[in-house]
Subunit: 339 residues, 2 copies
């Protein structure tokens, strides 16, 4: 099989190294990692199973290699390639480029044992970071705004510089938590607020992802049992937690992703919050923070052992509050194991 | 003129708002900002001079609008568009899409007064962050490794959470500074080391960019006069500083960018360091950290008033040390004014 990759994580998956300007060609048994001279030393040291080629214009070089190899058909993912780069290949070769959306993501949906170990470690470090963050908030977080709290979260997640983070953490108070993709505001945290934190870090390039919603009071921790002052919030919280626990307890290899989605959705709908559950149950996690499988109400994907994904039901009441509880699970021996 | 944009900053420039999933169409006097429902509220509040359209599939919606408007020709930048997205437009319309590389960057090369003010403020905040970072290093930076120092730099640059940063800061000691795009190592800072810091922040989405190289001792500041223990380093440093100052003093509107480049390059070559000056003199700065004009040895671009770019000559001796001094300038009344 011949294929070509442009996405940084897709390339890393094939050869154990990547950078922000690289192109990967697999032509039968041969493979080529093309990058520019800034990355010569690192590429030569880390790329496995591919020839390192240094060239300023990656696309023209790729066209040369394709012509020389006389290949007829090459698979590519049209989401990964810019019109400009692809145009160079089209104009300089007579290869039949076969579009295959999500080509690399499909390859990566079942995790190898080594990947499962790395992801489990990432998840552990992520959980540890939440503990550290709670402690810091208890010490000096009350009175600070969401910008400052987000900055604080980044510190804890990164191990104060040791790790990259998987995405800009969401740290949202009360009404702002009602936006699933909340960005920071100048709202300040006070005791008795609802606080939602959605955050992750990267360990050996693999992502962690975790969300907790808490009743913020001095000395709080990010545990799943939470007691809120208001009944409506408590009911929503307990519903989300039940939906979350239900999906983790009952997800099985062999189910369709939409059946797993129903394990959270049905409970939330029955509790009367259906229209406030505005997203899917979860998504795969690996080198990318969002990858396959997608645990969505229309997904026919069959869940299998060694898939890794999130379970993250939520209820969002505009202007009032938002609740989400998220864990990563790996499918092991037919069941969901929380990482 | 009709054009379409996909790049986040290109879109922001047209309508004062953008997000990570948007598509912008300008069709004669009409304009459309298409995004998904996550951004409805923000888009409706902030988009200027364009109709906000909410739709899950941006490309199909754009095709519908193009068909309805019966336009014949639309300009686009092929670097901005994925093959997958562009394919939707090609297959669903009969429009002639005219590729124009760097379409938005070309529009943005001359800064408006309002932009100049914002960029000047970004540069000032950037300089202030360098001061704060030097102070922090003096207090607790010696003995820390480049990962921890980079984390510290991010703190100072972001105003501890108030600002985004323009790019991952480079904080490199001695030999590691010889890589123009150095990434952190476990090398620890000790007194008497050479320390290179290249960093910037964003103010109202516009970037700052600044580099200083210093002899690190207790109480150091990021000033341009520096005294190093070793003669070779001192000679290289003084050469870079002279080249930097020469370009700022002699750059004029009306010159070609390659002539400005020569103002740093000739001096460094004459001092015998030519082969260690491995990059261009500078690059434009604005919404993107790298934009037009490029101050490079082959660039025929004519420098004009209200352009903003960096002057950042460097000397890199592999395995030994690297030196770079970088400031942002705006062309004002024919001359380069340091921001």
């Amino acid at each position: 099989m011949n294929f070509m990759l442009k996405d940084e994580n897709a390339i890393y998956y094939e050869c154990g190294y990547s950078c922000d300007n690289a192109l990967y060609l697999r032509l039968g048994k041969e493979a080529f990692f093309i990058t520019d001279s800034r990355y010569t030393i690192d590429a030569q040291e880390h790329v496995r199973g591919a020839q390192v080629v240094i060239e300023r214009d990656l696309y023209t070089k790729a066209a040369q290699i394709l012509k020389k190899a006389k290949v007829k058909k090459v698979i590519f993912d049209p989401k990964e390639w810019s019109v400009a780069g692809f145009e160079v290949l089209i104009s300089k070769t007579k290869v039949h480029f076969k579009p295959e959306p999500d080509f690399s993501h499909k390859k990566r949906i079942i995790k190898r044992d080594e990947e499962l170990q790395i992801i489990a470690k990432a998840a552990k470090l992520g959980a540890k970071a939440f503990k550290a963050f709670a402690k810091e908030i208890g010490k000096e977080g009350f009175g600070k705004d969401e910008f400052a709290l987000t900055y604080m979260a980044k510190g804890a997640l990164s191990g104060y510089g040791k790790y990259d983070i998987s995405f800009d953490p969401i740290v949202a108070i009360n009404g702002n938590a009602a936006k699933p993709h909340a960005t920071p505001t100048k709202k300040r945290l006070k005791e008795g607020d609802l606080l939602l934190v959605d955050a992750g870090l990267k360990y050996k390039r693999y992502c962690s992802d975790r969300t907790r919603t808490v009743f913020a009071e001095k000395g709080f921790v990010f545990k799943s049992k939470q007691t809120f002052g208001k009944k409506k919030i408590q009911k929503a919280y307990d519903t989300v937690l039940k939906a979350h626990d239900n999906a983790i307890a009952k997800a099985r290899s062999g189910m369709k992703a939409k059946e797993v989605d129903a394990l959270t959705r049905d409970l939330i709908e029955k509790a009367g919050f259906g229209k406030y559950y505005v997203h899917s149950t979860g998504h795969g996690v690996g080198l990318d923070i969002h990858e396959m499988p997608y645990i969505a109400s229309k997904s026919e994907t069959v869940i299998e052992d060694s898939m890794v994904f999130t379970i993250e039901p939520g209820i969002y009441i505009p202007g009032e509050f938002g609740i989400r509880i998220e864990d990563m699970v790996a499918m092991v021996d037919g069941r969901a194991k929380v990482l």
